[in-house]
């Protein structure tokens, strides 16, 4: 657990060297301007968060002030947190304690790399202090205890057995409570954690709510608390650190290939393959870039993984910015599943499926996952819903019930959204039209067949169908047309469709439908939905 009390001001000072001290950030609360964060010098001058800005200016005439930009600070802190994943794979920010300032690192199984928990804490604190952040830290067996110790008795490692003893004398605020709860407890004379710990739980819950007990239990390890990691946590990764930072994408990709070889060997020895790979690039200026690629089937072949990253990096284009260089690269493998060794060579059958999956992986890594699609049928008779396009990479099992009925003629091309047409001389009540005007061109139909009636699905009455709304003749160009079927969400008559196949004098075959029935409240409207060959 790391606590950076002055992170906001320290960060701004680092980003903008010209910023003078003492510095205070203010925000508007209920019409008044109050201090939200103050730096060390301001605290020394007697300022504190929550103070009125005018009072603060009067107290310290040399005060530099700035309005707080929370989204900017939160984004910067997120980057800062990600950068810490070079120390531990699980790094989290505690959102209920404010989105900047507190940083949780899971050091389980990691600390020995730094020479023990004590040494790790010193190393982490030292490197932050070295670049100008005021930082306090603690290592403890629970998030709650670590938070308490980092805030109120910082810079120590708490052994699990000592947790009770060390927490007991800490002030009640160490339990991550709301100001109201703290004031209430103080008013009752309960000022230390140890005093609350011995109390009867029922009475505490009745007076201060369940959250007090939850926090108490979390601090003492009765209740498990799992911080949500900022980056995907991978069990298997390989990394390389550079004495001199590198910057070129080609170097990064070459390194990615080397790491893919390492991780491939490791997966092979375990008999596994992975489907998602993440490449973390740690920049020297405390930012992390993450490139992710996915594979349609589990793989561990280094050349393939490296090629996916090469394609992915081409999509990156101008977004790639190495800053002052990259000093650590980590390749993590996720979504692992068993993968048996495959014999390659003499007796390998040429299996096209694998080649295809490779092809789709490459395409998806360059064009994006949503650009490589397959057809999936779903069990409905509304044409645009009967076929869904799903990414090839994220294939879901087919529904055997959903296969289309070969007896029903369906067009070769379907417009994603049906387009409104004006028809001439349609036979009332349910005959085909004699002609239509579509995209300002008139068509005369020679032949037509139909109707094929498709009723609206009453069980999906909450969803309207997506249609291109017809433009009213008197609307101005550029005006957004109103959503035409201003109908109730479900109206069986108005949403019934009659489909026709109509062939014009040039031999073009269209699939069009009339939505609604003649004589209904809204009247029917005609749409073009597809083309036959």
């Amino acid at each position: 657990m790391l606590y950076l009390p002055d992170w906001a001001t320290d960060y701004l000072k680092r980003a903008d060297r010209g910023l003078g001290t003492p510095l205070a950030l203010y925000e508007r609360i209920k019409g008044g301007m109050r201090l939200a964060a103050v730096d060390r010098e301001a605290v020394a001058a007697g300022l504190s968060p929550g103070q009125n800005l005018a009072d603060a200016r009067a107290l310290v005439p040399s005060l530099h002030t700035r309005q707080i930009d929370r989204p900017l600070l939160e984004a910067a802190f997120a980057d800062f947190a990600d950068w810490h994943s070079n120390a531990s794979p699980l790094v989290a920010v505690l959102p209920d304690q404010g989105l900047f300032g507190d940083l949780v690192l899971d050091v389980t199984g990691v600390s020995h790399l730094f020479g023990g928990e004590e040494a790790m804490l010193r190393a982490l604190l030292g490197r932050l202090a070295g670049i100008g952040y005021r930082v306090q830290g603690a290592v403890a067996s629970t998030v709650g205890a670590a938070w308490a110790v980092a805030h109120f008795a910082p810079n120590q490692v708490v052994a699990p057995a000592d947790t009770e003893a060390i927490l007991a004398p800490l002030p009640i605020g160490a339990l991550r409570l709301s100001p109201l709860q703290i004031a209430g407890l103080n008013g009752m004379g309960l000022k230390q954690v140890g005093q609350v710990r011995g109390r009867e739980r029922k009475a505490l819950q009745a007076r201060f709510g369940l959250s007090l007990l939850t926090r108490l239990d979390q601090a003492f390890g009765m209740l498990e608390e799992r911080p949500v990691p900022r980056l995907p946590v991978a069990e298997r990764y390989a990394e390389r650190r550079f004495a001199d930072p590198i910057g070129l994408m080609d170097d990064v990709l070459m390194c990615a290939h080397d790491l893919a070889v390492q991780i491939g060997l490791r997966l092979e020895s375990e008999g596994l393959g992975a489907q998602s790979f993440h490449l973390f690039l740690y920049r020297v200026d405390h930012k992390v870039m993450c490139l992710s690629v996915n594979s349609a089937r589990a793989t561990r072949e280094p050349a393939h993984i490296a090629r996916l990253f090469a394609h992915r990096s081409e999509r990156l284009g101008g977004d790639y910015d190495a800053g002052f260089g990259i000093d650590t690269i980590r390749l993590a493998a996720g979504s692992v599943s068993p993968l048996d060794a495959v014999q390659v060579g003499a007796f390998a059958a040429p299996d096209g499926a694998q080649d295809l999956d490779r092809l789709y992986d490459r395409m998806a890594s360059r064009l994006g996952t949503l650009a490589v699609l397959r057809t999936k049928f779903s069990n409905t008779h509304i044409p645009e819903r009967a076929v869904q396009l799903e990414p090839v990479i994220a294939r879901t099992p087919d529904d055997p019930q959903a296969a289309p009925d070969p007896g029903r003629p369906r067009p070769l091309r379907l417009l994603p959204m049906p387009e409104p047409i004006a028809v001439t001389a349609a036979q009332v009540p349910d005959g085909p039209p004699a002609g239509m005007i579509w995209r300002r061109v008139g068509y005369q139909f020679i032949k037509a067949s139909g109707p094929e009636r498709l009723a609206a699905e009453w069980w999906r009455s909450g969803q309207r169908l997506q249609l291109v709304p017809p433009v009213k003749p008197d609307s101005k160009p550029g005006e957004v047309p109103p959503y035409l079927p201003q109908l109730p969400r479900f109206d069986p008559e108005a949403q019934t469709r009659d489909y026709f196949i109509a062939e014009d004098d040039g031999g073009r075959r269209f699939w069009l439908f009339r939505q609604g029935l003649y004589g209904g409240a809204a009247g029917p409207s005609w749409y073009l939905h597809g083309f036959f060959s």
Binding site: R374, L389, R410, G506, G507, R508, S533
Partner: protein, 268 residues
């Protein structure tokens, strides 16, 4: 070997060379083609351009391309890759899984790729042509993109040739640029034949297809009236409209090869 046998053999070889010279596209590839209902189907590893006069004929063009691509599926080649720019979907419509069955194409065999721009579309086409498991690449090309110049089409042709998959570029408009495609078709929909039960209902799909460049089988610049049957294309007997090259199964007369004047398949 006797003199006579040698003479015969020489003569046979000469005829073969002459034949190859007349059909350069095939000489490069050595592919075989099958006749389907009187319509010669081009073999694998060719690049086709299929032109329609207008965009509203997009259905006919796609049907023609898929009808040809279907014959290339088989063995390890299991997939047809369809490429269309993302922005074109509402303009032209997307291939509809339920409608593919009419063309004997399993919807699972068709993969749709939707790149954002023409550069990526061409990249994806080349990438797909290099894959051993792809039977055909059907690419929708809207308008006359500058980037699809002679060099680009030459690249596609060579990729198709070396990879063994065919590429079909679906083009719209009357303008023809020079391109390195092996075959160029012009396709238009034709009024369908009456169905036996309902004279007013549209029947099976029909096309008029004209081979504008290259040669398939014995046919140079043929023109066919095609109808789709469950067995594939079926050429219809048409009287007068162009000449049906299938009637000339005998070796072509010398005069014809001179008239073709079309030795280089790449020059357009």
């Amino acid at each position: 070997m006797s003199d006579l046998a040698r003479q015969n053999r020489l003569a046979a070889l000469r005829t073969r060379i002459a034949d190859i010279e007349r059909r350069p596209a095939l000489a490069e590839l050595g592919q075989t083609e099958a006749m389907a209902g009187g319509f010669p189907l081009a073999g694998a590893g060719l690049s086709h351009e299929i032109f329609a006069d207008e965009r509203r004929n997009s259905g006919a063009v796609l049907g023609f391309a898929l009808g040809q691509a279907r014959s290339l599926l088989g063995g390890a080649r299991q997939a047809v890759v369809y490429l269309q720019m993302l922005a074109e979907a509402q303009e032209m419509g997307l291939p509809y899984g339920s409608g593919l069955q009419v063309f004997g194409l399993d919807a699972a065999a068709l993969v749709l790729i939707r790149p954002a721009n023409m550069v990526e579309l061409l990249w994806a086409a080349e990438e797909a042509l290099g894959c051993r498991a792809v039977a055909a690449v059907v690419a929708e090309v809207a308008g006359q993109p500058k980037i699809l110049d002679f060099t680009a089409s030459r690249r596609l042709s060579m990729r198709a040739q070396s990879g063994g998959a065919s590429v079909f570029l679906l083009r719209y408009g009357r303008w023809r640029e020079s391109s390195a495609a092996h075959l160029r078709w012009h396709v238009a929909p034709v009024l369908s034949a009456p169905t036996p039960f309902d004279a007013r209902a549209p029947g099976a799909s029909r096309w008029s297809a004209r081979l504008e460049k290259g040669a398939v089988g014995q046919s140079h610049r043929g023109e066919w009236m095609l109808e789709w049957t469950e067995n594939g294309f079926q050429a219809q007997q048409t009287a007068g409209a162009g000449w049906d090259a299938n009637a000339h199964d005998a070796p072509l007369p010398d005069a014809l090869s001179a008239r073709l004047g079309h030795r280089l398949p790449q020059a357009g």
